[in-house]
Symmetry: C2
Subunit: 196 residues, 2 copies
DNA sequence: CCTACCGATCGGTAGG
DNA sequence: CCTACCGATCGGTAGG
C-alpha cells in the first residue's frame, strides 16, 4: 500500500525530495535526520529507501535542479534582444521570483551545497563559477556600451548575487509586502540606488 | 603541560573559540566534530572540556560576540553627527570590514545561529530584529529629510543586509581586489546604483 | 592533558 | 511498507 501519494505530475521520489527540501532548509542538511523526514511522510525511515538511494542523493537532486533552472534562464536571457540593463533586471527578477516561489529548494541550494559529495560538489561549484563569469561579461558589456557606470564587474556581480541569494522573508507577510513591490524595490536599489 | 598556548591577550578558551569558528565555517556547526576541533589543537577531544563547557557554548560565544560588536557599532553611529546617508554608508562599511577581518566568526554568526540553544537562540534573534528595526528607522528618517528616495524601508534594509551578510570572497585575492575598492564599489552600488 | 569508555543517534541493510 | 538490527560516529564523563 502506497502511503506516499504520487500525483500525475510527481513521482513518489519527487514527493520525498520536496519534503526533504523543506526539512533541510529548516534544520540544515546535517542536522536533518532521515527518521524526521520519514515522519513528515508518515512512514518508517527504512521505507524511504524503496524510493531513493541515499540521503545525499536528495541533496543532489535539490541542488542540481536549482542550478540547472538558473542556468537555463541565463541562456534564455543572453539570447534576448534589448539593452544590457534590461537583461540584468530580468536576471535579478528571476532570482527574486525563484526565492519567493521555491524558497526551500533555492535556500538549500544556496546554503547546503557544501555538503554535496563528489563529483556533484565540483560540478555544482563549476556551474556556479560559470554563472558568475557570464554575469560579469554582461556587466562589462554594459560598461562598454555606456549603459552602466564603470565599476569592477566582479564586485558588482558579487553584490547582486549576495543580495538575491541571501534573501529571507521572515516578516514579509506580516508587513503585507507584495511580490511585485519586493521585486521592484530591490531591482531599483541594485540598479539605481536609494539616494535622492 | 599546556599544549594550547594562551597569549597575553587571549586565554586558552579564546584560542579554542577561534579554531572552532574556522572549523564551523568550513564544515558547518553540525558537521564539525569535537574530535576534529581537538586535532587542530593537537590534543585529544576530552581535553577540550578542561577549557570549555560544551560544543554549543562555542557557538554561543561566537554568535553573541559578533552580534554585540555590530550592535555596539550601531549605537556609536546613531550618536554621530552628520547626514543619514553618511551613517548608512558607515554601517555598510563596517559590515564589509568585519567580513574581511573576521570572516570565520561573522560567517558562522550569519549562517549557523539557527543551531543555538535556548535561551541564546531567542536572544540572538531578538537582537537581530532590533538591529534591523533601527536600520529601518534610519532609512525612514533619510526619506523624511529628502536625502533618500521614497522606498519601502523594510525592503531597503533587507537588500543591504542580504548583500553584506552573504559576502564571500573566494576569488578576491586571485583578482587582486583591495579591501578599499571592494568597500567603495559595494557602498556605491547600494547607495547610488550602477546605471549611468 | 590522557586513556578508557558510555549512551544516544545516525544512515542504511536484511528479510519478509 | 514494516520490524529488527548493524557498524560508525557523535558529544561528553570518569578517573587519574
Amino acid at each position: 500500500m502506497s502511503k506516499i501519494k504520487p500525483g500525475k505530475n510527481n513521482s513518489s521520489k519527487e514527493v520525498i525530495v520536496k519534503k526533504a527540501a523543506a526539512l533541510f532548509r529548516q534544520k540544515g542538511y546535517k542536522a536533518a535526520s532521515m527518521r524526521e523526514l520519514a515522519e513528515t511522510l508518515n512512514i518508517e525511515a527504512p521505507s524511504l529507501y524503496n524510493h531513493i538511494g541515499s540521503k545525499s542523493e536528495l541533496l543532489q537532486d535539490i541542488c542540481l535542479k536549482v542550478a540547472d533552472t538558473f542556468t537555463a534562464n541565463l541562456v534564455n536571457i543572453e539570447k534576448m534582444q534589448g539593452s544590457i540593463i534590461g537583461k540584468i533586471e530580468a536576471i535579478i527578477r528571476f532570482h527574486i521570483k525563484m526565492m519567493l516561489e521555491n524558497f526551500d529548494e533555492v535556500f538549500v541550494a544556496n546554503h547546503e551545497w557544501k555538503h554535496l559529495q563528489e563529483p556533484f560538489f565540483t560540478d555544482f561549484l563549476n556551474q556556479r563559477r560559470n554563472y558568475e563569469k557570464r554575469l560579469m561579461t554582461l556587466i562589462e558589456r554594459g560598461i562598454q556600451k555606456k549603459e552602466l557606470e564603470k565599476n569592477n564587474s566582479y564586485i558588482v556581480v558579487l553584490t547582486i548575487l549576495s543580495a538575491v541569494r541571501g534573501l529571507e522573508f521572515r516578516q514579509r507577510h506580516k508587513k503585507n509586502i507584495s511580490a511585485k513591490i519586493l521585486e521592484d524595490t530591490m531591482v531599483n536599489q541594485l540598479l539605481n540606488g536609494i539616494v535622492k
